[in-house]
Amino acid sequence: MRYFFLLPFYFLSLLGFSQDSDYQFDLLDSELVENANAIFRQDEMIISILSKKDLVLRRKKVITVLNELGDQYAMAYVGYDNSRKIKSISATVYDSFGNRIEKIKEKDFQDFSAVDGNTLYSDSRVKYYRYTPIQYPYTLELNYEVSTKNTGEIPATWLFLKDFMVSTEQSNLVINFASPDLEPVLKEKNLEGIEVLKNKTTQSIQYSVGKVRAFKEESLCPSFEKLAPHIKIRPVNFHYEGYDASINNWSDLGIWMSENLLRGRDELPAATISKVKALTSGIDDNLDKAKIVYKYVQENTRYISVQVGIGGIQPISAIDVDRVKYGDCKGLSNYTKALLKAVGVEAYYVHVEAGRDQVNFDQDFPDLAQGNHAILAIPYNNQYYWIDCTSQVHPFGFIGDFTDNRKVFVIKPDGGEIVTTSSYLNEQNFQLTEGLYTLFEDGSIQGELEISTKGIQYDDRFTLADQSEEKIEKHYKKHWNNINNLNVGSYQFENNRNEVRFTEQLSLSAANYASKSGDRLLFAANVFNKQQYIPARYRNRKLPFEIQRGFLDEDKFTISIPIGFGIEAIPEAINIDNKYGSYNLLIEEIDGKIILKRKLLVKSGTYANTDYSGFRDFMKNVSKYDNSKIVIKPIL
């Protein structure tokens, strides 16, 4: 599942007070240079809400770029569309002595369609200027002003620090509002440890932040948004593409969505209604009906994104989807909801922030800006079943790592609520590998095995069944890149959608697996599930780390060795148990055969920076023991 909808809240976080500053590099505070690829010298946004239907945004950013990695922050671009107009835009480039070297006027900016590869059409456009740096450091100043009637599109976030390895010298946020009812609600996040000047009057709110130092991303660390100091902004009384709203809680927003953007969107042609009724006739149970409808949607529609105007948050109508049989996540969710309604099953439209990284909706901050995807929640027996209507392949009720275990917004006709989606944790993400293999005198191996996967491990594997033979072979050769000369003999898959379990049966062989030393053969007994990942090493780990899901792998193998050979050495049993998980390895000889049993559990959790080296050692040991070798030699 890869399908996002785009809210046109692309004021990004990017305007301001004009003054003649000195952008001389030498005068910079060295602490700001440390760990930084770029420095936001001045970063300002002034939002003026002049009326419910008139918002003007002025933005200024002055960025000193220290090296090529910092160029991305000095990209001069501004998005616009039919509602959002660019009133002015200009940029200036300075060299390291603060001398002006280039002035870029509005006409110098190029105009592009902002359509990405997954979108058939969008009315979003971008004005962009590509500056080619001739030396580092250099400083780019960008000024622009945009206006919109959609006060609901007020930028949702102001970051006082823009990214990993970027520092801030001065950052200002100013929000002016013509009357008290236009005042937005603000929420401070991660402001501990930085100096903030705040000023609030009856018609404005101002935040001013001085020096914020850059820090680096570290592997497994929480996402930048979770770490960065920022302000969240949400409108209370606003206008959006012809609709007015007053939102004080999630329930208000649910009612507003239901009564405006979703209203009347669930009508269907009579022919379609009778078709789904016929499909579900004789079935009483709502969940069984829902499964049939979901299957119908999966077989008859596909994902295509078209984004026009309010289409960023409003689904196209069920009638339209029914006609063309495609839609984006909003359109397909709404269509499925309408089909379910036609057969008497209630389902709720859901906003979610999708992606591998789990991001929660903020319980006490109701706004339209959170989320990038839509799914459905079907209430049944006091619980919700979640379905993603953009996937043509996922089993009913299984949402995988795209929308799992996170707070989402369930929109109901009489309100709405924040609910956590299904989670897949630790032993639920299970892989069992069982099999046997024979080692031959020439060092080659041949074996048969069965791998069955559940949970997120299922999610990672089950689409294999739809791949071409060539891709499947490539997959295995990559998956087992520790086995040189791997030859995939035959394979067979079973996708049990009811139990959400995927089974791969394989026969494999590889020449020269064991290495020879004189007349001895030396080989790692654990052929098919070697832990190769060792987390990167930090000399001084600063950030906490997360394992969002965890997993459990179990392996059982019977190994035959060539006749006339005896075991010279066999690894000792290993048992490790710690807060990160556990590892058990037992290799023993029973009646001339070698039996290998292995178990690796990696637990989900959030850990302090000081725990990182312990986790790394754990994984390092696992990798080492997974490589334990057996030596066999001819018996005289």
Binding site: L69, I134, M165, K216, Q392, K474, I534
Partner: protein, 661 residues
């Protein structure tokens, strides 16, 4: 470039229309097509082009001639993955008020429902038009009501005012094509030369036809192709487009009664000469006013041309920045390039040529096509996209590309080594294709000195010395990282070792070799099994994965540049241990002297010395040698996995060893 105005007048004499006789009729879909479950010739295919028809011809109306391309396509969708083939994007070029347009677009999806064929038409509101970028509009649509098994069919025509640009006819895609017919009609007397590419035989037929309505003859080039396989991507390919089946057309002459004969036929020498007569190359390169003063002091007292060339090459590199755009003609011109200190490839490299000439060096431009731009299949300026500088000093050739930070004289960015280039030497009236611009061999040495302990722990030092493109690539990569990240990356490549005291020298210059040193330690220096230690002498430097996995290969293998990697490893074994066995030495050669591998190991006292040489002598290796190359890697990997066995030495040995100390 042909002057299109002149041609336009002549073509105005004609009025051309098409008479089409297609066997595959639009809208006549059979049940069999809808029932088909897979394509017998490629059962894995997610979709199949059942038919593609293309007709390209000129049409005149009210004195305006346009090139019309009619497209008719029918595609069978076998699986969900094939759905992506039901979205069509048509890019339309425009320049000023001249625009390409799409006309007469009609499209249907056919599905079988209850044994009946159901047609769903693409509605007008499902066709999206978009100003895509500065010079391109885009018309985009996706078919309605698509299911597995559906057949989609569409037709449209593109009307273009750019009548002398016949786009390449592309006959191969990432899905197979069952039947393809394509036709190009050109007025008789306008002679087009056809160039074919790819591995699929095209068998074009040429015929003439009297067009009675016009009272003129037209030349018809037609293709009737069946069962074109899908074009599949493979690793180490220079540019897959070089191997895609297709045909290209260029106007070579006009020969019509009543109009003087005019030839556009050209050899590469002609193309070079034509470029030489364009204003950028003719006069501009000898204008020196804009940089005279700046260079004067630098060149004072300098007489050695090689030294001067070095100085000027460095000067241009230091004082200009490439804006990332290709080009064989100026974007900014010399003056502006100097002032703004940046420009496209032509701005920068032609500036270098002009400066070299000013300093008395025999210097000329060399025009080429980069790897991304594919190989120019026939002589035409249109397929060249880049220019570099050439100097001839004492009969030796020096090629230079000053766009990149780490390029050097005779060490060009890899993209430049594609097809040679065209030398444009106006002064000596030499215009020719040079084919022998090839990358030099990178000679690299990696040495490791390590000490292994009884408990398997090992520590040691590493030193590498890289030259030419290996050094170039290292510098580029190194620059893209912050040092900590670089080391993390390095530790993940050299898995199992922990690196300290890292130092790399010469990383931010472009000339000379690069050296890297670090100390390392690892707990996996040896496997302890029973009372023996098993040591992999190549340790973290061994190759474990064969880059070549498929069983056959159609395209040449492109390494970018030839190289020789030498590994010199010295291992000190723990006290009290003796070598029980060593891997056997190995010497392999690839045919035609394409490569060698040598593995020589010996035990001297308490040390193991290993020397490995791995050499690939040609930047490009023919697909004919693919299986040998794959096996060569295989043997190398097996050899690299072999172990040295150490055993606890007997007491006598210990004593004698002690005695000898």
């Amino acid at each position: 470039m042909k002057t299109s105005k002149e041609l336009m007048c002549m073509v105005g004499l004609f009025l051309l229309t098409t008479v089409q006789a297609q066997e595959i009729e639009f809208g006549k879909i059979s049940k069999e097509e809808l029932l088909e479950k897979e394509y017998a010739l490629d059962p894995e295919a997610e979709a199949l082009v059942l038919y593609r028809g293309q007709n390209t011809y000129l049409q005149s109306a009210s004195g305006i001639t346009r090139m019309i391309t009619e497209v008719h396509e029918r595609i069978k969708i076998y699986s969900k993955k094939g759905f992506s083939h039901t979205t069509e994007s048509i890019n339309l070029y425009n320049r000023g008020s001249d625009r390409e347009e799409v006309r007469k677009l009609k499209a249907f999806t056919y599905t079988l429902e209850n044994d009946k064929i159901v047609a769903s038409e693409l509605d007008k509101d499902q066709i999206f038009e978009n100003e895509y970028s500065y010079n391109y509009d885009q018309v985009k649509f996706t078919m309605p009501n698509v299911k597995e098994g559906s057949v989609v069919e569409f037709k449209y025509s593109i009307s273009s005012p750019f009548i002398w640009n016949i786009d390449e006819f592309r006959f191969q895609r990432d899905i197979p094509i069952k039947h393809l017919k394509a036709e190009l009609r050109t007025p008789e007397g306008f002679n087009f030369k056809q160039t074919q590419k790819g591995f699929f035989r095209l068998n074009a037929k040429i015929s003439k036809k009297r067009d009675h309505r016009l009272g003129r003859d037209v030349v018809i080039t037609s293709f009737d192709l069946s069962n074109i396989p899908a074009l599949k991507a493979e690793s180490h390919v220079d540019n897959i487009d070089n191997y895609r089946a297709g045909a290209m057309f260029e106007l070579v002459s006009i020969d019509i009664p009543g109009v003087p004969y005019k030839s556009y036929a050209q050899s590469w020498a002609d193309v070079a000469k034509t470029i030489g007569s364009s204003s950028d190359y003719k006069n501009e390169l000898d204008k020196t006013r804009s940089f005279k003063n700046e260079l004067e002091s630098m060149l004072v007292g300098k007489t050695d041309y090689l030294e001067i060339t070095n100085l000027l090459f460095k000067y241009v590199k230091d004082n200009t920045e490439w804006n990332g755009l290709d080009g064989s003609s100026f974007q900014n011109g010399l003056k502006k390039t100097l002032k703004e200190k940046k420009g496209n490839a032509a701005d920068i490299n032609l500036l270098l040529v002009a400066m070299l000439r000013y300093a008395g060096v025999k210097a000329n431009p060399v025009i080429l096509s980069t790897k991304e731009n594919a190989i120019p299949m026939f002589p035409t300026l249109d397929r060249l996209n880049y220019v570099i500088a050439h100097a001839s000093i004492d009969g030796r050739d020096f090629y230079m590309d000053a766009t990149e930070e780490f390029s050097d004289i005779n060490l060009l960015p890899i993209r430049d080594y594609n097809w040679g280039g065209l030398l444009v030497d106006n002064h000596n009236k030499v215009w020719k294709h040079i084919s022998h611009i090839a990358p030099k061999k990178a000679e690299n040495i990696y040495s490791v000195n390590c000490q292994i302990n009884e408990d398997g722990f090992a520590e040691g030092s590493y030193k590498s010395r890289l030259t030419n493109h290996s050094a170039y690539q290292f510098r580029e990569k190194f620059k893209g990282y912050d040092l900590d990240e670089f080391l993390n990356e390095l530790e993940s490549i050299y898995s199992g070792i922990e690196i300290s005291e890292y130092d790399a020298k010469n990383t931010d210059t472009f000339d000379g070799h690069l050296t890297e040193t670090f100390a390392y330690e690892t707990e996996n220096g040896a496997d302890i099994i029973g009372d023996k230690l098993y040591v992999n002498p190549l340790s973290f430097l061994r190759i474990e994965e064969n880059p070549f996995k498929t069983d056959k290969r159609e395209y040449p293998i492109d390494y970018g540049f030839p190289f020789r990697d030498r590994y010199m490893i010295t291992i000190t074994i723990p006290e009290g241990y003796a070598v029980e066995s060593l891997p056997a030495n190995l010497h392999m050669n690839l045919p035609n002297d394409l490569g060698t591998y040598k593995y020589v190991i010996k035990n001297v006292g308490n040390k193991i010395q290993l020397s490995v040489t791995f050499e690939i002598n040609s930047a490009v290796i023919s697909a004919l040698n693919y299986l040998e190359l794959k096996e060569y890697y295989n043997q190398m990997i097996i050899k690299g996995s072999e172990q040295v066995v150490l055993t606890k030495s007997t007491d006598e040995y210990k004593e004698s060893a002690a005695g000898s100390r």
